[in-house]
C-alpha cells in the first residue's frame, strides 16, 4: 500500500489531516493527498511526527517546497517535533491520484491522466478529451508542457490549448 487507508489513532488522524492540507505549489487546487504524494503520517509515543512523502518526478522542484510546507502545517497543528522523510520506493504513479483529485484537475483546466499507467505508451498518442468542452478531437502539441508531469495539447473543437497530466 502506498498510503494507509486510515490512520491508527486519533492523534495519527489529526497529524495526517494537517499534513494533507498541503497543496502542490505548481497545481494549487490539488492537495498532496489528492496526488498520492503523502504516503504516511504517524505519531510515536513521544509525540514525534514522521511524515512520509514521495517525489512525482526525479527532478520535481516542488518536492522541497512540499517538505517545508508539510513541516509548517504540522507545527501549526501543534506538533512541535516533526520529521519529513522522502522515500522513492514504490515509485509514485498517477494511478494513486484520487478521483476527487482528477475532478479538481479537470475543473482547473488540466486534463487528468487517461487510464492506467503502464507499458505500451511508447510511440503511441494518448486520446485526451478537452477539459473545457469535452471534445475528443484534440492533438498533442508537445510531449512536455509547463512542467515535466504535463504534456501540452490543443483542442480542435473549441480551439483552446490545455495541459494534460501524463500517465506515469
Amino acid at each position: 500500500m502506498h498510503q494507509r487507508a486510515f490512520p491508527d489513532t486519533d492523534c495519527d488522524r489529526r497529524a495526517y489531516e494537517a499534513a494533507a492540507t498541503v497543496c502542490d505549489p505548481e497545481i494549487p487546487v490539488l492537495t498532496i493527498a489528492d496526488l498520492g504524494v503523502l504516503r504516511d503520517v504517524s505519531v510515536d509515543e513521544d509525540g514525534k511526527v514522521l511524515a512520509v512523502i514521495t517525489p512525482t518526478y526525479s527532478g520535481c522542484p516542488a518536492m522541497s517546497m512540499i517538505a517545508v510546507e508539510v513541516e509548517a502545517a504540522l507545527l501549526k497543528a501543534g506538533f512541535p517535533d516533526v520529521c519529513v522523510k522522502t522515500v522513492l520506493s514504490p515509485a509514485w504513479t498517477t494511478d494513486w491520484m484520487t478521483e476527487t483529485g482528477k475532478r479538481k484537475l479537470r475543473d482547473y483546466g488540466i486534463a487528468p491522466p487517461v487510464g492506467k499507467a503502464g507499458r505500451g505508451v511508447l510511440f503511441g498518442i494518448d486520446d485526451v478529451p478537452c477539459p473545457r468542452c469535452g471534445s475528443s478531437d484534440t492533438e498533442r502539441v508537445s510531449e512536455f508542457g509547463s512542467t515535466a508531469c504535463k504534456a501540452f495539447y490543443r483542442c480542435q473543437s473549441c480551439a483552446e490549448p490545455f495541459d494534460y497530466f501524463k500517465c506515469i
Binding site: S58, G59, C60, L88, S89, P90, T93, V121, G145, A148
Partner: protein, 250 residues
C-alpha cells in the same frame, strides 16, 4: 579499493548530470517555446536522477562528501560519464539525435535495473524508467519528423547520426568493476540490452528515412576519465559558482 557500488553510481550519475547540463544550455534558445520547455524538463529529470545517484554514492562512501560536492568539486579526470553525453549540442537535429541514441539505451537499462539486488538503485531505476519512456518518445518523434522532413533537416540529421554513431560503442562497454557487479546481480549487463537498443534505433531511423551507420571505430575512454576537450568547458561553467565561492549554499 573504492566500493564498486559507489563507482557504479557515480558513472550513472555523471552521465545524467552532464547530459542534463548540456540540455539546459538550450534554455532560452530552443527552436520553439515548446521545445525550449521540453528540453529544460528533460534536463530537470536527468539532474534529478543524478542527484539521487550522487546522494546514494555519498552516503555509501561515508567520507562526509555530499551530492553537491560530488557534482561540483570533482575535476575532469574524475568524471566517469560516457563521451556521447558531453558532445556539443550543435543544432536542434544533432541534440535530438544524441537524445535518441542515449534514451533508447537508458529506457531498457533502467527497466532492467528495477531488478537490481541493490534496493536503492532498484528504487531509483523504477522512478527513472518511467521518465525515460517519455524522453525516448519525444526524441524519436522529432528524429522521424526531421529525418523525413525537408532536404535540409534530413541532411543535418544524417550528418549528426554519422558523427555521433562512433560514441555509441561505449554504451555497451564493461570493465572488471562492472563485471563483478553484473555477476552479483547489482548491475545490468549492457550487452543484454544491445539487441533492443538496435531495434528501437533502427525502427526510428527507418521511419525517418535515415540509415543506421555501420559499426566502425568506436570512441572510448569516458569511464577511465579520458574525456574529449568539451567536458572541461562544461565543468568550468557548471562548477563556476562553487569554485568561486567555496562552500556557498542557497
Amino acid at each position: 579499493m573504492r566500493d564498486p557500488v559507489v563507482e557504479y553510481s557515480l558513472r550513472l550519475a555523471d552521465n545524467c548530470v552532464i547530459l542534463g547540463q548540456r540540455l539546459s544550455e538550450w534554455c532560452g534558445h530552443g527552436p520553439t517555446l515548446e521545445e525550449d520547455i521540453a528540453l529544460s524538463n528533460i534536463a530537470l529529470d536527468l539532474i534529478g536522477q543524478a542527484r539521487m545517484l550522487y546522494a546514494y554514492a555519498a552516503e555509501r562512501e561515508g567520507e562526509d562528501r555530499d551530492e553537491d560536492q560530488l557534482a561540483f568539486l570533482r575535476d575532469c579526470r574524475e568524471f566517469r560519464n560516457i563521451l556521447l553525453v558531453e558532445q556539443p549540442n550543435g543544432d536542434f537535429g544533432r541534440t535530438i539525435m544524441r537524445q535518441l541514441l542515449f534514451s533508447a539505451f537508458m529506457h531498457p537499462f533502467w527497466q532492467a535495473m528495477t531488478g537490481s539486488r541493490d534496493e536503492t538503485l532498484a528504487a531509483i531505476a523504477a522512478k527513472a524508467e518511467k521518465e525515460m519512456a517519455y524522453h525516448l518518445r519525444h526524441s524519436a518523434e522529432w528524429v522521424i519528423r526531421l529525418g523525413d522532413g525537408t532536404d535540409e533537416s534530413h541532411r543535418r540529421c544524417r550528418n549528426a547520426l554519422e558523427e555521433l554513431w562512433d560514441y555509441t560503442g561505449e554504451l555497451f562497454e564493461t570493465d572488471a568493476i562492472e563485471n563483478a557487479l553484473i555477476g552479483n546481480g547489482v548491475a545490468v549487463d549492457p550487452a543484454s540490452l544491445r539487441e533492443q537498443w538496435q531495434k528501437t534505433v533502427e525502427n526510428v531511423l527507418a521511419q525517418a528515412t535515415l540509415t543506421c551507420p555501420a559499426d566502425g571505430y568506436m570512441q572510448t575512454g569516458g569511464r577511465q576519465g579520458l574525456h574529449s576537450e568539451h567536458l572541461g568547458h562544461i565543468l568550468s561553467e557548471m562548477q563556476f559558482l562553487q569554485r568561486a565561492y567555496p562552500g556557498g549554499t542557497w
